[in-house]
Amino acid sequence: MTNIRPMILLAPLLMFLSLAYMLPFAGVIGWSVTIPEPGLQNYAAALTDPLILSVFWRTLRICAVVTAISVAMGYLLSLLWVRGTPLVRTLTELCILIPFWISVLTRAFGWLALLSSRGLLNGWLEGLGIIDDPLRLVRNEFGVIVGMVHFMIPFAVFPLASAMRNVDERVLLAARGMGASRTRTFWQVFVPMTAAGIMGAALLVFVFAIGFFITPAILGGGRSVMVAEMIYLRIFQSPDWGLAAAVSVILMVAISALLALLLKQLSPKDAK
């Protein structure tokens, strides 16, 4: 950062962000150590209470699975979008953008209609005689993952597609020219060259997924409580603002640490 000018240009944004986010967040930190009484008991409770820990673990587990699936599917979709024939590109674009524009609520209810025990899918499968009893596809963790993956795929596609567009076609041709098979060119040349996009997509999806509220609430059947819903619960239902604030702070710190780690991993490669 030798050049000071970009910093000056960024300053208003940074100031806005700090006013709009950091100040209120300072208030939340304040709550976490003062409600109901001064001290660190809320953090102690948040890190030892089995309910809260189980919600943390569930959130991490669901987010990891959702991230892996979304990035993998997003990668295939991006390949079609960037490297397909014009017709395939147009179709893929529609498949990415149309769901992207539909509200998260509508999509969650859509999955409910499709996957519930008397839903379309179970109806067909039973009609065809493939199953006798309906499959439990929603109102559990599976349903939550399906709904979240569906929501997150476009967010994975955008960084991936932009990384793929930046891959120099000539490098791939050179690899083929040197005698590498298509598969080998893909795995040893193309994939490493889009690694930054994969990291970016994974990061974006994971961080976004951690804050999910509506989809788990609708598709989880009340069971798959994730951390955002737990914070809501502790603020609005069983008012315990201190604990809710402590959980928020822990979440914020965890996400920031994750971001820092990934940025650190990404930047040396960029510098080369």
Binding site: L51, R58, G222, R223, V225, F236, Q237, S238, P239, W241
Partner: protein, 373 residues
């Protein structure tokens, strides 16, 4: 006034609305108002007042209730007193009311709250005590007027069942709800515990009269055993209705308000029983330091005690009337839907507000730990 001013006024009015509903801050409102008029003009004209200006904000749980409250209580109150009542459906949970109070600048006046929330917040000094010189205790059922809130309606947690499955041999008690041998199929219960604890205990053999204080350990053991049969812990009324409508659950513990809709909308394919239902009061409470002033708010609560108005609420939302005088105004053939009609009341147990005031938060956290384990 010049025609252009009318538009500015309208803009200002829209802004003022947003400020009252808490969608923008007062400071923001002043800034935007000044931008519209020039700050000198704003000062000389005076803003459309935000507080104590003949306006009340009534906060309910949204949906159809917003229009119903406006028709039944809001409009008649404005006609009688000139005080306009604005409806806000954002849901006065205990935490949301607390947030209003703690902001130091509440934008809500009257909340349609759980009585136990109002009592608990009242003891922390966040709710005005009910002024029983204005609000008439004789227009309430015995035991349903509290220090910080006045009952305004009743609903019950009742057993709804799929009559296409169990029409010949319907469930008759809470024990049947938990009997998946005789009554096969999945169940649905309320996500936030209220009414479910009572159901679990009655299902485990506790008599109605012995329910309170609730034996949470026993209830939660029952929940652990039974939860495999629960397809969904519903979080709102619409969700509970869907679960019965599309047949995902063969029996559900749902609000009587929704049970009536199901009964009517399905022509009796989904029915419900009052036996072992849990009667729960809805209550009106006034936030301390409310913008419209406590006097106006108390008058509003008193005005909502009118039997004719409560009849409108029964018609529109199936709310059981708080004022027993309303019972007789309900047409004969609809009395079966009134949770507090004497015949129905006798089969049920009333939720113990004092127990919930003390125990709700902790009990709910334990309940959710089991549900989401």
């Amino acid at each position: 006034m010049k025609p252009t001013d009318t538009f500015t006024d309208d803009q200002l009015e829209l802004l003022a609305d947003k400020a009252r509903q808490g969608k923008i801050s007062r400071r923001k409102f002043t800034q935007l108002g000044a931008a519209l008029l020039g700050s000198a003009a704003l000062a000389s004209r005076g803003m459309p007042a935000l507080a104590a200006d003949g306006q009340l904000v009534f906060v309910s749980w949204g949906g159809d209730a917003v229009d119903a409250y406006d028709d039944a209580y809001g409009k008649p109150f404005e006609e009688a007193t000139g005080i306009r009542v604005r409806q806000d459906g954002s849901g006065p949970t205990e935490g949301a009311i607390q947030a209003q109070f703690e902001s130091g600048n509440p934008t809500w006046d009257i909340v349609d709250a759980d009585a136990f929330s109002a009592e608990s917040l009242g003891k922390k000094g966040m709710i005005e005590p009910i002024d029983y010189d204005v609000v008439d205790k004789s227009k309430m059922r015995d035991g349903f007027g509290w220090e910080y809130s006045a009952s305004s309606y009743f609903f019950s947690y009742v057993i709804a069942y799929d009559a296409t499955k169990f029409g010949d041999n319907p469930p008759t008690s809470m024990a049947d709800f938990f009997d998946t041998e005789q009554f096969p199929g999945k169940r649905a219960m309320y996500k936030w515990g209220t009414g479910v604890w009572e159901a679990l205990l009655m299902g485990d053999g506790v008599a109605q009269a012995d329910l309170y204080p609730l034996d949470l350990e026993r209830a939660h053991n029952k929940l652990r055993d039974f939860k495999q049969h629960v397809i969904s812990f519903w979080g709102n009324g619409a969700e509970s209705q869907t679960l019965m409508l599309n047949g995902e659950a063969s029996m559900a513990l749902i609000w009587s308000t929704r049970a009536r809709l199901l009964d009517q909308d399905t022509d009796g394919d989904v029915k419900f029983i009052w036996q072992d239902g849990v009667i729960s009061p809805g209550a009106m409470a006034v936030i301390k330091g409310n913008p419209g002033g406590s006097d106006a708010a108390m008058k509003f609560i008193a005005s909502a005690q009118d039997p004719e108005k409560q009849l409108v609420m029964f018609d529109m939302l199936s709310q059981g009337p708080a004022n027993p005088a309303t019972d007789d105004l309900i047409p004969e053939d609809e009395r079966r839907f009134n949770p507090v009609a004497p015949d129905n009341y006798a089969q049920q147990v009333a939720l113990d507000v004092a127990w919930y005031e003390e125990n709700y938060g902790d009990a709910l956290n334990e309940y959710l730990a089991i549900v989401s384990a």
